[in-house]
């Protein structure tokens, strides 16, 4: 039996977990539901020892447990299956299985092999001990992890979004294996945003929202109540830009591409001039892949992409840029800004052509951009000295004046509510002159407030494509959770 008492995890001012208390019974499959930013992954990382809690108590069978690091947690019997399998691709299945366990000089491969084959067989997993792990699918790597954790004597198994990016057959195998584990008195924590999966296998569900527990329920599960706890009530709808959409500016036809966990599968979408399209769905469901395909940073495996009238399939990012696609990455210091360069130098990179750098002009542009977007900084400030929120403002200030197609990855990340609203005012202003905006956001409320059209991504597929005025929070929430 696991008891969580008033768990807090703060990252500076952000309260990822804001006083969470719950009980998990032995031998149960306990679901943790929530949308982006609910705090589910953080809570599980705290439980698994990956991250230190800010305050609160964890009790295992009544006794308070304080452990640092996943190794200690494993000794106490807690193991976690991460969203991205943490394994060694160049080593074989058997070697991964044995990792960290062989004592002494000789590695005793024979007995480990038997154990691997027995355990795998008992769950119905088909794992060849000698295949290198990089040749396995995500589902198979998960199976290997489960088997490895069981061999380590783990009694509490945490799975973080396990059914993302695996085939439906593998999903069935996984869910069956989980039921088997529960029947062997193992405790399972199943973190997900997918209602179907949770309903299929969980005995009890706790719903989180913005760092807090909003509701708990036993089987049988009531979908509408769960959705209400996950997404909250409908916010007031703000008046948004009602520009009449013009010509097609971005066309994707049956585009598929790998990327992230789910990739993008068979996407056919057309964006028109003046539209503000919000990409909704759990992070990593294909929104990022969509944006990067539209920016030319990823080349599609199948399908056709057109920007305005030109067929752009297979061309590189700079060609897309010339056609008017502007990409704003979410990773500010890794992709968006160049550390070590000042604000002026960033503007200088964009200033015209010619041999010499127009330093005066660049300094003026920098000062102007700082002023317009209220960046707290001066032209000679190195960009890494700016706070996250100000880096985001700077990224927006660096965008071209008359953009044709804006592709924004989490454009208001790190900004407080007021700043975010102000930024959207500026951005929506662009649509009046025919610009189109496609953006992803972790906050559903933002999308509902600002976008004129919403695309919902689920497991790499666009499951819903609707005008915002024709839908509401509940419907979008359903689509995000997989119930279309």
């Amino acid at each position: 039996m696991i008891t969580l008492q008033d768990i807090h995890k703060h990252y500076g001012a952000v309260r990822a977990n804001d006083g969470i208390s719950m009980e998990i019974a032995e031998g149960s499959i306990h679901g943790i539901l929530g949308e982006n930013g609910a705090g589910k992954s953080t809570l599980m990382k705290v439980l698994a020892g990956f991250v230190r809690k800010t305050s609160g108590t964890i009790r295992l069978d009544g006794r308070a447990a304080d452990y640092k690091g996943p190794g200690k947690a494993t000794q106490l019997g807690i193991g976690m299956l991460y969203q991205d399998p943490l394994d060694f691709p160049s080593l074989s299945v058997l070697e991964n299985f044995m990792m960290g366990r062989s004592r002494g000089v000789s590695s005793n491969k024979g007995s480990h092999r038997h154990q691997l084959e027995d355990l795998a067989g008992s769950f119905g997993f088909r794992l060849d001990p000698d295949t290198p792990v990089r040749k396995l699918t995500v589902g198979e790597r998960q199976q290997l992890e489960i088997v490895r954790l069981m061999a380590l004597g783990v009694d509490v198994l945490i799975l973080d979004e396990p059914t993302t990016g695996i085939s439906s057959h593998q999903r069935q195998v996984l869910l069956t294996a989980l039921r088997k584990l529960a029947s062997r008195k193992k405790t399972i924590l199943f973190v997900s945003h997918k209602l179907d999966d949770v309903e299929a296998v969980c005995n009890r569900v706790t719903v989180l929202r913005q760092g807090r527990v909003t509701g708990e329920m036993d089987k049988p599960l009531e979908t509408s109540r769960l959705l209400g706890w996950m997404f909250g009530s409908t916010p007031e709808s703000h008046p948004r830009s009602e520009v009449e959409p013009g010509d097609n500016i971005l066309t994707m036809k049956e585009v598929s591409s790998p990327g992230g966990r789910t990739g993008l599968i068979d996407c056919t979408v057309t964006v028109r001039q003046g539209e503000v399209v919000g990409l909704a769905g759990l992070e990593g469901s294909g929104q990022d892949v969509f944006l990067r395909l539209a920016a030319g940073l990823i080349k599609p495996e199948k399908g056709m992409i057109r920007v305005d009238k030109d067929v752009m399939t297979g061309r590189d990012h700079h060609a897309f840029r010339e056609c008017g696609a502007t990409f704003l990455p979410a990773a500010r210091l890794e992709e968006g800004l160049i550390p070590g360069l000042t604000i002026t130098e960033h503007f200088a990179l964009q200033a015209g052509r010619g041999v010499l750098v127009p330093w005066e002009q660049s300094r003026e542009s920098a000062a102007e951009g700082i002023d317009r977007f209220r960046v707290v900084g001066t032209p000679p400030s190195p960009v890494e000295s700016l706070s996250g929120g100000n880096q985001q403002r700077l990224l927006l200030a660096l965008m071209p004046r008359d953009p044709i197609l804006l592709l924004l990855e989490h454009p208001t990340r790190g900004l407080d509510v007021e700043s975010a609203q102000w930024v959207w005012q500026q951005l929506i202003g662009y649509t009046a002159t025919g610009s189109s905006i496609v953006f992803s956001s972790a906050e559903l409320e933002e999308i509902l407030q600002v976008a004129s059209r919403i695309l919902v991504f689920y497991n790499g597929v666009v499951v819903k494509d609707t005008q915002t005025r024709d839908t509401n929070l509940a419907e979008i929430g359903k689509a995000i959770a997989g119930k279309v």
């Binding site: 992709e335 360069l341 960033h346 964009q350």
Partner: protein, 342 residues
């Protein structure tokens, strides 16, 4: 905070001094005398100083080029081979004009040819990196060996001295093809002017041109620079080409102004030494001539040591190496304390 930094540097210099003193003592020689001879041997007379400057020229030329390749984030270890390639090109042109007989024009051609030779050699390493994904350290090192091999082949093969092929190199060029020098000093004013021009040019490129800004951007973050519209591959080739051209100039100078022929060790390790100079200068152009001068003084001065004190002249190498290690350690330490404080 600044005081702390200066203090750290002083401490480091003292540490290097102590290390050197210990080694001198262990070799059984008086330390003060050793240091005295190091500097007397290089600055003691005009003749000696002229020797210093003659070595300063190729070292600084190589360093100028390396600042550019370092700026874009490349470890251009192949600079040695680029010096040799420049020297080979220069020798080839000189041999051709020795037969034709137009000294004035041919010297200009020779320098241009040397730049081209060094530049091309560098671009080969650059292409290996941008198109083949071969790390520039391995590519450069491999090409160093190839260049060395070609030199030996030329000296013992097609370009050998009539009669007996010799390790002392090819035939000496007629004096009409020598770089003009100040009579007794054997110092070439053209070489000095060339070096000063190179220093100014590189400083100008880095601070005032788009090219320099592009180098900086790509060097700091190739990914972000790409999203800002720069093509990292193309600029890397530019940087390598320019670094190779500077190294080629150094090689040309060695052939026309110092040895007047091609010898096996024509690059005299100036390329590798230039790497140390640039690292010590923290990639700052204004420090390069000073640090290069210091290094050369050490090298020239250490020639006195075997005669005067029965010490091996490689002591200068120890000082140079210890200094660079000290600086690298300091930089890493400062970076760590900065990260910890933020």
């Amino acid at each position: 905070m600044v005081r702390r930094t200066v203090g750290a540097y002083v401490l480091m210099l003292l540490g290097v001094l102590c290390l050197t003193t210990l080694i001198v003592l262990a070799a059984g020689a008086p330390p003060f005398a050793a240091f005295y001879h190091l500097f007397e041997g290089s600055l003691g007379s005009w003749t000696k100083f002229a020797q210093v400057l003659t070595r300063w020229i190729p070292l600084t030329l190589c360093s100028c080029g390396l600042v550019l390749s370092f700026r874009i984030g490349l470890w251009n270890i192949g600079v040695e081979g680029q010096v040799v390639a420049g020297a080979i090109s220069a020798t080839a042109i000189l041999r051709m004009s020795a037969e034709a007989g137009f000294p004035g024009i041919s010297l200009v051609l020779v320098f241009l040819g040397g730049m081209l030779g060094g530049g091309v050699w560098a671009i080969i390493a650059g292409l290996l990196k941008t198109k083949g994904g071969v790390n520039e350290i391995f590519g450069g090192l491999g090409l160093n060996f190839v260049a060395q091999g070609i030199t030996l082949w030329l000296i013992f093969g097609p370009w050998r001295r009539p009669g007996v092929a010799s390790m002392s190199g090819t035939e000496i060029f007629p004096s009409s093809l020598w770089l003009p020098t100040i009579a007794s000093l054997r110092l070439s004013p053209i070489g000095l002017v060339l070096t000063v021009v190179a220093l100014i040019a590189v400083a100008w490129i880095l601070t005032r041109t788009r090219l320099g800004l592009a180098f900086k951007g790509i060097g700091n973050s190739p990914k972000a620079a790409y999203i800002h519209g720069l093509k990292p591959g193309r600029y890397m080739l530019y940087a390598m080409g320019m670094a190779g051209a500077c190294a080629g100039l150094a090689g040309t100078f060695q052939v026309t102004g110092v040895y007047h022929r091609l010898i096996p060790s024509i690059s005299s390790n100036y390329g590798y030494l230039a790497l140390l100079v640039v690292m010590l200068a923290n990639y700052n152009v204004s420090w390069i001539p000073v640090i290069a001068l210091f290094f050369v003084c050490l090298s020239v001065g250490s020639i006195q040591l075997p005669m005067m004190l029965q010490l091996d002249s490689s002591l200068s190498g120890i000082v140079q190496g210890a200094l660079v290690l000290g600086i690298l350690f300091l930089h890493a330490w400062r970076k760590r304390t900065q990260e910890r404080n933020s």
